[in-house]
Amino acid sequence: MRDFRIVYLAIAIILFCIPFTGEYPTYLTGLALLFGISALALNVLLGYTGLLSFGNALFFGAGAYTVGLLIKHYDIAAIEILFPASIATSFAVAVAVGFICVRHTRIYFTMLTIALASLFYALAHKLRPITGGDDGIRIYDTYLFGREIASVTEFYYLILVFFFASILVLRIILKSPFGLTLQAIRDSEMRARFAGISITKYRLGSFIVSGVFTGMAGALYALFLGQISPDDVLGLTRSGEFVAMTILGGFTSFTGPVVGAFVFTYLKAFVSSALIYWYMVAGIIIIGVVLFVPLGIMGEIERRLLWRR
């Protein structure tokens, strides 16, 4: 146990020092951290509750568009207002969408998440006067407690704080009786029901936790990039990336999704700068993981560690 803490500490120090290596690595790592939160949140549903959401971009987009729309239409530039507003929106969306989705399981659940995310995508796309349609929304001049936040480094540290906070809070949630109950439902819905557990209530709870953290990541993403569009934050590809990251890192492991997010984000940046065929590579990676490393990077590592003992 002790040696793991040292690993975590080392990672924390490295993450803290990233901005000293230049703007591009900072930008890239910032993205990886954001997607790390999103993948972790997706795994609350996938790894812990046994529900595959292919529509989590819906929450990501809800968070991002809350920031965008408040800036565009109400000139609200204070991050301390934008942020809670995004969380509130993604919470509300998760409750409404969850109400429809959690009555279903397995493939039905997955298809519904896709369809409902597509509804929001279509709205963001078509309601041009409000959302700016395809062009999206530009986000600039944001302040945190009266201080302008503009540089990549400043946003990076903001993201880093939320990253650690998210990991901590999600860790506590998943280690709690609530988290244990989710895993019970994942393994045997029938048994959980006859342990006195209301399945739909817990699924909804899981959906909301996933939605709120994804929405938070989306809000940070909007601030960090300064530009959002329906395809970027609400599209099926975005949802799919969260799934791909989670699987790549390993959905059976708590830290797996974060590892997956980092590997995926760096790989995407390097491959697409060297080669125009990133999609092909992404597709082959997904297929390769499914065929040869179904437990993902961390799942495989954990399995080998256990096996050796």
Binding site: F178, R193, F194, I197
Partner: protein
């Protein structure tokens, strides 16, 4: 005073009259066995009482309260626990956590998310005791053999501290030598906690040894009921052996 009462319970699956007008009463702390050939409606009866299925007609009372339409998890809260013919366990949790889920749910703690599971020391101790009672090793459930899963399933039901427990073939798949000991342990816990039990069982030695009362089911109906002497009844023997 009866804890469970059903009136004219019916459940049809198309042409099959799985349960066809069953009226029964179970007294507080009573141990009742339901016997009958395969397809006589025993498991369907358990499913109706536990809430896994809703009856086509008929009424179910638990401690005088009409629970006919109540969802399964709310019946559990009132004090009805059950185990399954094919053990239903949480495959990727430890045996301790399997039981802990029931205990936390019973105490209303399963919706708490600010305190980690290992801080619930009382509950963990209780779960550990149940594991010990049934000699289930502390392991990942996926690594447990069938017999231990079967017991774990029963232990998970008992961990709810129910007033009535429905056990669907608790000794199926357990070796003949171990059966008696296993059943003895279960009955001990039941008597100790004054839990009424309805058990579906094929092993007539066990039925004869532990039952306060025996119900014989045939074609969805209760054909006969009484003490263990009814197992000697000519008609009952014919039905049970003809199976």
């Amino acid at each position: 005073m009866e804890i469970l009462k059903t009136e004219g319970l019916k459940k049809y699956f198309g042409e099959v009259h799985a349960v066809d007008g069953v009226s029964l009463e179970i007294k507080d702390g009573e141990f009742v066995s339901v016997v009958g050939p395969n397809g006589s409606g025993k498991t369907t009866l358990v499913n109706l009482i536990s809430g896994a299925l809703l009856p086509d007609s008929g009424i179910i009372y638990f401690e005088g309260r009409d629970i006919t339409k109540l969802p399964a998890h709310q019946r559990v809260k009132l004090g009805i626990g059950r185990s399954f013919q094919i053990p239903m366990v949480y495959e990727f949790l430890s045996s301790l956590d399997n039981i802990l889920v029931s205990i936390l749910s019973r105490n209303g703690y399963s919706n708490i998310f600010h305190r980690t599971v290992d801080k619930f020391e009382e509950e963990r101790k209780e779960a550990m005791e149940l594991l010990n009672t049934f000699s289930i090793p502390l392991k990942l459930v996926a690594e447990l053999p069938h017999g231990h899963r079967k017991l774990l399933d029963v232990a998970m039901a008992l961990a709810l501290q129910p007033r009535l427990v429905l056990l669907d073939e608790p000794t199926a798949g357990i070796s003949l030598e171990e059966r008696d000991q296993v059943m003895g342990t279960i009955v001990e816990v039941l008597k100790d906690r004054k839990i009424a039990a309805v058990i579906v069982e094929h092993d007539m030695d066990i039925v004869a040894e532990y039952s306060d009362r025996i119900l014989v089911m045939h074609d969805g109906k209760i054909m006969k009921e009484g003490g263990k002497e009814i197992l000697e009844d000519e008609e009952v023997r014919r039905i049970l052996i003809g199976d």
